[in-house]
Symmetry: C2
Subunit: 202 residues, 2 copies
């Protein structure tokens, strides 16, 4: 399971580090999961929403099994972050392409607005950070305020710490509950079971 | 309030990113909090326990109000991380010096073992990651399995995600509950109230 987490300037630290640690820890426990922090275009360093400077692993290539998009800067209208990415258009366009090529797409926190801009949520059930719920409502998504929403090939979740529950749910769904529980135990995280699974539409 | 989070190769990502985001977000909300990720000696990049590469802000200088030590690598006996730092001795020694100079010291997850090695927990109430509780018991600390333990000038907490509860508790204690709640709301984090406050010893 090849998971690429797309980072960009202004991305919320927790939105990508929570899932990154959960996926990477699953791999340390023997799960067939390869998770990496990547960028769309070559970028030697990324400055996240609260100032963390990280060195990404490289550029996203091929079609990953899962692409995760973090949020950041939507609620406070930051110059860098999701709003800038949506205005630029490249990230939503690439997400639509990855989805069309068969990748599962996960939008975390206000990263869900990237999926909305990509048209991936049209007629779909979705959620986002509480500070962006109004904006998501004015898209073509059907908003449900569960902590995690699973549409099969598209997943969304609430804000910041909900990203960890989304990652643990994905591990449970695609690897197994034993590994998901072992990761949660290591991280001493009380998982939220507020996962809405859309089976036959809403 | 000058908070320095000391990072080192093999430090657990969540242990420092969770508190970093909470403190930095408190500052964004107007709190007088300056939090930074620093190293003891000059180091252009730090590779964390699960592979995240970050660029620290620089070397720790002066006497911060609070120094936070993350965990990492203790439970799985990793070559880099807390065990290497304890064996080397520099980090525990510096923590003892910062404490003697008046800094509050917070040990997060297995970073608590650095405080134990520094002698800072002798006769004190403390906790740590569940995978290190046995080791902490064989130190001179009095182990209490609360999620956060507040000894006033020394704070400790459980594993990984407990670091966020420790940070939010510190914000509540030293800044105010309104800011702590605002940060928790932004992070959509259900806080744990399992905070043990040692008032007159154990």
């Amino acid at each position: 399971m090849n998971i690429r987490i797309v980072v960009f300037d202004g991305a919320d630290e927790f939105d990508f580090v929570g899932p990154y640690e959960a996926f990477r820890h699953a791999a340390m426990l023997g799960a067939d999961v390869d998770a990496g922090l990547v960028t769309l275009e070559p970028q030697s360093q990324v400055v996240a929403a609260h100032g963390l400077r990280l060195i990404p692993e490289g550029v996203i290539t091929g079609t990953p099994d899962l692409v995760l998009v973090p949020g950041g800067g939507w609620v406070n209208h930051a110059a860098l972050g999701v709003r800038a990415q949506v205005a630029r258009g490249n990230l939503p366009r690439k997400m639509a392409e990855f989805h069309a090529a068969g990748a599962t797409i996960a939008g975390v926190c206000t990263g869900v607005m990237v999926l909305a801009a990509a048209g991936l949520l049209d007629g779909r059930v979705a959620t986002t950070h509480s500070g962006a719920i109004k904006d998501l409502r004015s898209s073509k998504a059907h908003v449900i305020q569960s902590r995690v929403v699973d549409e099969g090939d598209i997943l969304t979740c609430g804000g910041v710490t909900a990203s960890l529950d989304l990652a643990l749910w994905l591990i449970e769904r695609d690897v197994g509950n034993q590994v998901a529980e072992a990761v949660a135990t290591y991280m001493e995280h009380r998982r939220s079971r507020d996962v809405y699974i859309a089976r036959d539409g809403i």
